[in-house]
């Protein structure tokens, strides 16, 4: 293979079927159906992921909690930055989240700053933030901070169809009659457009 082709193949935008699942490091989502669809088998590390849904403060925790439980079960820390409602301590503990390893930060004006600091410190492997309105530039900053701290940043956003972003993974949640659908809109290093289903409880 000549060197020009080599350099093209190193470009992360080039997807190669035979190298699927090989390069991306990740944190398990804890949902087997979702893990199977993601290139690294989980939330991508050192990257920004977006979870889109019609209204924040509803079904996102169902998708995020299993991963949160795995992350906090050992020595690792996880953080929630400016959640729209109060996460219920009892429910979190019941789902296996170790509350003593979960940090909550409440701030509206400085939430992006706080998220960036936490990501850059590299102390929290998993950070979930509800940034509200966020520009592409701010997303890029979160992406850079996640790369710097080698951590995983998940931004939960109200659904907006055409928002540009540098996120490695974009996931849309919507409720159907049979349960909660997780639709992969963008999947760096994997195949987009697939979806999985979480049945209603």
């Amino acid at each position: 293979m000549n060197s020009a082709l080599q350099s093209i193949l190193k470009d992360p935008r080039i997807w190669r079927a035979d190298e699927e699942n090989h390069q991306q490091r990740s944190l398990e989502t804890g949902l087997a159906g979702l893990d199977a669809l993601l290139p690294g088998g989980g939330w991508p590390l050192a990257a920004l992921s977006e979870v889109l849904l019609p209204e924040t403060g509803s079904s996102e925790l169902r998708v995020l909690l299993p991963g949160l439980a795995r992350q906090t079960s050992g020595d690792g820390w996880a953080a929630l930055v400016s959640p729209p409602l109060l996460p219920c301590a009892t429910a979190l503990a019941a789902q296996g989240v170790n509350l003593s390893r979960l940090l909550l930060v409440e701030s509206s004006a400085d939430r992006l700053w706080a998220a960036e600091q936490i990501l850059r410190s590299g102390q929290c492997r998993l950070l979930i933030c509800w940034p509200g309105k966020i520009s592409a530039r701010q997303k890029h900053r979160l992406q850079l901070a996640a790369e710097h701290g080698d951590s995983c940043c998940i931004a939960v956003l109200a659904d907006s169809r055409n928002a540009a972003s540098s996120a490695a993974l974009k996931l849309r949640l919507y409720s159907g009659a049979d349960g909660l659908h997780l639709h992969i809109l963008k999947n760096r290093g994997g195949r987009p457009g697939r979806e999985c289903l979480l049945p209603h409880v």
């Binding site: 409602l85 019941a94 979960l102 930060v105 600091q117 409720s175």
Partner: protein, 465 residues
Amino acid sequence: MSEPANSKGELWLALHLPLLGLDLLQLSSAHAPAACLYEGENKHQRVWLGNSRARRCGIVPGMALKAALAQCPDLQTYPRRADAEQSRLEQLALICLDFSSRISLEPPQGLLLEVGASARLWQTKFLRRHLQGLLREQGHIVYTALHETPTGALLLARSRQNRPAQIPLGAFPVDAGITRKLARIGVHTLNDYLTLPEKDRMLRFGPELEQMALKILGRLPDPRRNWRPPCRFRRTLELEYETASAGQLLFYARRLLDELDEALAQTCSAVQQLHWIFHHYRRAPTRHQQQLLHPGRDMSRISLLLHEQLERLPLPASVEKITLQVNRFWPKAADSLSLLRDMGQNIDAIEPLLEKLQARLGAQAVYQLRALPDHRPELAWARVAPGKATPPPDQLPPRPLWLLPQPRKLSSIRSFRHWRGPERIASGWWEDDIRRDYYRARHRSGVTYWLYHHAGEWFIHGVFG
């Protein structure tokens, strides 16, 4: 006299600072203009101490200030500040703490160190010279002496003699009348005094002198109070020019932190709370309190935090002085490395991050949750400061993932389907009257909510997601 340690193995090094008060004013050198310190009020002002040029003009301690001025009209006079001298002695004692743990302050002008215990580590001769050098660097004139007894060492240093027998009686801190009386009968030194019949000495010249002589001979115990470094810190730094810029203030604050670090090192302590006071010209000072999660001594971390806070601290005017005050020193935990690094609840690594977040967002904004064993949702959780371990309760009723801070009233429940419940949640009769029937129901949008019925109205209290 040689320097053998006595039976207890003690050897005392005395430091005598004859011009301490003038050292503070930088008037003690031979080139300084004639100057003296005085004590007393109004008519009773008397010379306390004069520098070498003043002495050459005939100024001696104890003479009336007016007489001194008449004798030497160029004489500069300053009131004596005993408190400043005392705090200077304490600062010097801090330096000496590197060489001995037994230090005694001997105001007004002396310090005593027990060096026998470390004689094997330090050659005493070298130590003596080294300390002399250190104190000279601090701008002091210092005389030193070694003796097995504290009193002996002090008096040797004060009189600049080598052997106790030669100490002039004038060097003893006793009533001048007694020494004059002794001088009249030809008794000038300690040796002369000791040749007098032992029985008569006390009767004729009083117990004070006799006791000191016996202490020097080692026949009377001579206990000294061990000086302990203060477990407080307060230092004020006057800025070279007034400024309100955070960067410049930080520069000066770092100097104070360096001093604090030194004080902490000397006492093996750590700090948790730092009070900063920024003084303005003719205005109430701005106060700022810095709180660390745990006692620590990492000054670079503290100064990083301060940087964060200074940029957000509203200052009404430019600052002319900065005071740093620490009211409590904490014993410093030994730095230990765990053999099994990943075991246990070690939160040290995340601490700097938590402090940084709290510094900007406030302590309330950074927290952890704690689940409590209570069936009422309002009381089933608590906020705790980060880093506090929280064992979860055993019995956990099924609860929604989100709670609304306040239950929200619903106008209609028509769009809800798939009802399940109810669960009755009621408080005891001795508490607030809560009696609610909770249901789970799915909204048309597909989201499952936690609703309750109370007094004919429906409320949303949580979201299952």
